[in-house]
Amino acid sequence: MPSNDERWLDAEAGPVVRPYALTQGRTRHTGESFDLVATVMATQATIADPGSLAPEHMSVLQLARAPTTVADIASDVDLPLGVVRIILADLRELGLVMIRTPVVMAERIDKHTLREVLNGLRGL
């Protein structure tokens, strides 16, 4: 068996290092965890000092000007989910975004909501 520091990556493995370079190598974010469908919303209409943020952080912040979800942002910026999570947590620490778990997520989905979903699906 090759030793651990022997790297053998093929194209299929994807760009393993580069995305996480955006996060200075961090693979875990700070603060409370948040769901894939948690709502993200920018707290300020404009950024006082846009130069202080990395372009990727700015892109994520732009997308959060209207309420959106973690999954939607990750899809829009085309960065791996793990990286987007770290960027979002950074922005949260700076007080630039609010991340909240959708109400329905916080507890078991009630019957009223289930019926709404059912009716919504039937009407598609």
Partner: protein, 205 residues
Amino acid sequence: MDYGVSDPAGGNPRSPGQHRAIKILLAGGFGVGKTTLVGAVSEIRPLRTEEPLTEGSLRTDSTAGVEGKTTTTVAMDFGRISLRSDLVLYLFGTPGQQRFWFMWDELAIGALGAVVLADTRRLADSFPAIDYFERREIPFIVALNCFDGARRYDPEDVRMALDLEPEMPIVQCDARSKESAKDVLIALVEHVLVTASEEPLSGIA
């Protein structure tokens, strides 16, 4: 995780601009039609992840020859269906292999339920997903994707083969058809409603 403001009465707690997101998981073996089904009923969006490999996934994932590989690329199918302006359904197609269970663990939190998409020619591919949802008591249904040329099986034979409870819905579908995909989701929500009626205990996170 539970820091969302919630109304214990389970009513309709929401403020303007707030939207409710419902997650449904779509699981099944490789090539069973998860992407097709998500695409048939919703606007499909790509979501990629490059997750650090956990100890657990290293044990189950064969990394022979790529021992230096410490992250894994997981492509997920993700679709959204706006049911109302404030109610959005998110469909997540998750890779079926056991090594991706770490992804499911997150997706499963707060999910309405799951659909296990199965191909009758390769029923065994759906075992891991069924085991997973049964063990975690996540409500699910089995949808048989009726591929062209595949022999149709009596759902009751499939029930026996998969060792499923008699009340577990098994539906046949054509993952390419919007109507059919819609019917699968409706069957799941109906199943969850029935299950919820049997267990009047609400408010369990």
